[in-house]
């Protein structure tokens, strides 16, 4: 066996080879740790959006929807955010394993840690109102299209007594006119309804109506509530 050690020292000297500087490794470690932290934060935010969407779902009107609660449940599962959460928890796991000493932890320990951190951040973000503001801000963003379609699905059911739209006119104390999500005009009897957040002038407000269809283009309201998509102020 030849003296490999001696040969290598000769090579190092002849070719002036230098060890890679320390900052290079520090930078790489910092990047990995940052990616881990970012993955946890994004995963946490996804969780906060899931909490928000679940909590703000229209569970109370599920009996009026064909298929009932489970139908609504299937419609309202925020698939995009769930996939995003899993993706970022996996990424967090991957980056954690690549940190110094990350390999020492068992798979389920790391997964539990990543999920716990994400839930903690997600809950804090939810309490701080992050997803609500985000929801309002990105109404038309693809991840929320599901939610908008979901709302169309729930609140464009006049036959089931569910309707959403914009108040375009108040013709009397008992009657208003609204334009629904499909641009149909409806006369709404509000004489026996409870109207939450009506204010002095309801014209222009977006509302959700729970009631009973009386005839074509006329509905009797039992309850009127502000459309949650638009009830948040900035």
């Amino acid at each position: 066996m030849k003296d490999i050690s001696k040969d290598l020292i000769k090579k190092i000297k002849a070719e002036h080879i230098k060890p890679t500087p320390k900052w290079h490794f520090l930078l790489r470690k910092s990047i990995i740790f940052t990616l881990f932290a970012l993955s946890v934060i994004v995963g946490g935010f996804s969780i906060s959006v899931i909490i928000f969407l679940t909590k703000n779902q229209y569970w109370d009107v599920s009996p009026r929807i064909g298929g009932g609660f489970f139908h609504l449940l299937l419609l309202s599962i925020p698939y995009f955010w769930i996939i995003l959460t899993f993706l970022f928890i996996f990424l967090a796991y991957h980056y954690f394993k690549n940190t110094s000493g990350g390999h020492k932890f068992e798979l389920w320990h790391v997964i539990t840690l990543c999920i716990s951190l994400s839930f903690l951040i997600g809950s804090l973000a939810y309490i701080a109102g992050g997803p609500r503001r985000f929801n309002h801000f990105s109404q038309q963003a693809p991840p929320f299209m599901h939610q908008l379609m979901m709302e169309d699905n729930v609140w464009s059911r006049p036959d089931d007594g569910l309707l959403a739209g914009v108040v375009i006119e108040q013709t009397s104390d008992d009657l208003i006119t609204i334009k629904d999500l499909k641009n149909n005009i409806w006369t709404v009897d509000i004489s026996s309804s409870i109207w939450m957040g009506k204010g002095n002038n309801p014209v222009g407000k977006r509302v959700q109506i729970i009631g009973r269809k009386v005839s074509d283009q006329k509905i009797e309201a039992f309850e009127i509530r502000p459309d949650r998509k638009f009830e948040f102020d900035f």
């Binding site: 050690s5 001696k6 020292i9 190092i12 890679t20 110094s100 000493g101 390999h103 020492k104």
Partner: protein, 192 residues
């Protein structure tokens, strides 16, 4: 500094000295030259010449990455880790080439002694050849831990650091590896 002085210096201190003067790196490499040479040979089942080439690559990587060494861990684990990765890399490059089984390594006999139930039968046969053959048939993940544990005599913590897996996984792989080893050794006995 005389060679005798270097013999008393710990690995971590030698790393520091190597960063200051690359002549000192020789003493660090010399310490691991034979160990890693045999480790690479066992892992890859390659001839001396190829093993030397791989080892030279390992040593060059060690030198280039000296600043990445974390003194919280054992230097031996770190250098074995690099040797392991370089061996895997070499294996991937050459996996389509045929390999001859190495039957000359007497340490295979020690491994066999771990599997007590077959000790007597194997002692009557060409132990080194048989154990080598059995190890070669093991899936890579079991082969890695078995070589490190029984041939390189590393403890669980060191194996964990070398293979970058948790100690619990090391224990699991060792248990399963030993079971598979016994089964395959038995099959070999039945065949002969």
């Amino acid at each position: 500094m005389e060679d005798t002085d270097f013999a008393k210096i710990g690995d971590n201190e030698l790393v520091e000295l190597s960063l200051k003067d690359n002549d000192n790196f020789y003493y660090l490499l010399h310490r691991y030259e034979k160990k890693l040479f045999y480790y690479i040979k066992r892992l890859l089942n390659i001839d001396d010449h190829l093993a030397e080439d791989v080892l030279q690559e390992v040593f060059l990587k060690v030198y280039l990455n000296l600043n990445d060494f974390n003194p919280d861990y054992k230097f031996s684990s770190w250098i074995y880790r690099i040797a392991h990765n370089e061996s895997i890399s070499h294996y991937r490059k050459t996996k389509n080439q045929s390999k001859d089984i190495n039957i000359d390594d007497p340490k295979y006999i020690d491994l066999l002694k771990e599997t007590k139930c077959f000790r007597e039968e194997y002692e009557k046969k060409e132990l080194g050849r048989d154990v080598s053959q059995v190890i070669e048939t093991l899936p890579e993940k079991y082969k890695d831990v078995i070589i490190l544990r029984f041939l390189e005599e590393k403890d669980y913590e060191e194996i964990s650091d070398i293979l970058k897996i948790p100690e619990g996984t090391v224990a699991t792989l060792l248990n399963r590896g030993k079971k598979i080893f016994k089964e395959r050794a038995k099959e070999l006995i039945d065949l002969t």
